[in-house]
Amino acid sequence: MSTQQAGSNLKTLYTRNRHIWRLVIVMLAWIVFMALTKFNKFYTLINFQTMASQFPEFGLMALGVMLCMITGGIDLSAVSIANLSAILMGFLLKSIAQADGSLPFYAIPLMFALGMVLGAVLGAFNGLLVSKAHIPPILATLGTSELFTGIAIVFTNGNAVSKLPVQYALSINNKIGGLVPVQLLIFIAMALFIWVLLSRTTYGTKIYLLGTNAEAARFSGLKNDRLLIKTYMISGVCAALGGLIMLANYNSARANYGSVYVLQCVLIVVLGGVSPLGGRGRISGVVLAIFLLRMLETGINRFPQISSYYISLIWGSVLILVMVLDYFTERRHPFRKRRS
């Protein structure tokens, strides 16, 4: 390949992924900043392991929300699906635990399997409301969010599910080879799966196009309803997995855990370059956004003078900053509303 060709390839690589590069730059800037100021406290194995065991909670939910937003929708019920799954699986765990608190060998795999099925079913309900009942996704998932949370409250009488067999938390809160947290592995597995879906399967191309123009999708022979239901089901499965991880991280489950994650997931996904109008967005951006925010958060924790509440402020500011940057550098507005 001649240098000129290589040069233009690099240029195309840059222009097609401008948003990603911006995130990388911000992240590098932060990494350098932390290295200069709090090197010893930040760049420790323990620190990274802690980060890696905590972010999968909402990271998984964000993956699901991302898929929904690519189709032009949104999933506000991710957290409630997570909580409900965690609660019901918590009950399951307690019921199959033996007298001495130990678990049969099939317990945890069974939990995960059933939890994912539950997530799929709840997600399918969302998908039906959005596709067959034509309810705008923001309202449909708002309603199911209340509904699922309500069901969770009824099941638990408003209390937390606790006193779980400690074996569960120990096995999930574990590090393979003393190094890699199990939660991280689960997240990576799901992220890889979704990456393959989006970039290597027909499903991926189809939902990008569906999110761009649902009418044209119909006219092209796509099965819009099926695609939507599938998407919300996957989101439900992701949310359920997030819930199971929360169950391990907190050793308990409750109907109102993680309520801040609802909008936070949307924030992360948009920061990652997914357009709320649909049809655009890459998983690399979302994963980067998750890492970036987590690193910002833990980094700030290392400055005791700064209250951890400032995290909120920084998230919001970073989001707005990135959007304003996009506005000034993109020739065409990426978010221009499409009027029929």
């Binding site: 506000l76 409301l129 009942a133 034509h134 309810i135 705008p136 923001i138 309202l139 449909a140 708002l142 309603g143 199911t144 969010s145 209340e146 509904l147 699922f148 949370t149 309500g150 069901i151 409250i153 009824v154 009488n157 408003g158 309520s259 909008l263 949307v266 924030l267 948009v270 709320p276 109008l277 700064i306 209250s307 951890s308 509440y309 400032y310 995290i311 909120s312 402020l313 920084i314 998230w315 919001g316 500011s317 989001l319 707005i320 959007m323 304003v324 506005y327 507005h333 978010f335 509303k337 009027r339």
Partner: protein, 336 residues
Amino acid sequence: MRRNEPYIFLVVLALCVLIEIRSGQFFTANNLTDIASAMIVPGLFAVGAFMVIVSGGIDVSFPALASLTSYATTKYLLDTGYTGGIWLPIVISLALGALLGAFNGIFIGYFSLPALIVTLGTSSVFKGVMQGALNSVQLAVIPPGMREFGTSSLFVATNSISGLTSRMPVAFLALLIVNGLAFLMLRYSYFGRGIYAIGGNETSAVRAGFNTKRGKFFLYVIVGMIASLAGLIRTCMMQQNHPTNMLGMEMNIIAGVVLGGTAIKGGAGSLSGAALGTLLIVIVENSMILLGIPTIWKSVFTGALIIIGTGVSAFQVLRANRITKNRIAWKEMSKA
């Protein structure tokens, strides 16, 4: 885009009758007063949310905005040992609300960034400022002027059967005044018509001569002021300031507005419809006991209500589109 108010009014009425049948206590003076009282803060929020949605946008930052301004106002007045009446707190709240609303307005109006994402961001920023920069804590004591405002009542309603009494807070007047002003503005000012125009077709609005950027900017300023007022009233009525108490209300308010016939895409809806929709949700949330349903089921019912309500709404829109298309086809046929 047919008139939705009659339907939603009937639904509200039917619900009230149902509760009355079940408990015999709905149409009592004190219960109605309680409902009206419970409507004040959500009703105020709903006015703002309604206007924003009609303009084609959305705002999820208003609870955070209200929390921040009410906390800041209360804390400041406490720290300076303020002992005067309610007017200064109101002025400060409105000013702060306008300032924060302007924040939203600049990004949504002048930079044309999508409203959902901007307000998500500003919601985080407001929370961060409140909990971080201002180190918010629960304020169990509030300035006497605010306390007095919160406890003063227009009248006291007595339940003839049970002897229970309920106060109608003076703050209810604020709800009426704001609704009235909003109605007048939307119907009789070009700023208000502009909101509908922008929501209907923003390009046409620009071409017609509306300064859409400025219009949207001021809209979010006004919405910030209304939200701020609601936050202040909340603090007064609760006799204390709890910083995170209102957070999370945004989605239910938006649901109420949409249930009342406001199209989520903008351009259509009425203030009365939004108020009725909010009233519906408030009644459901407050009447669980009267229906003999343990409050534990509240979320389930609210969720089901939202799903069914928006489902019916979506179905109506679908049908209306088909009918319009048919009508055109037949009209053309008869002309041919």
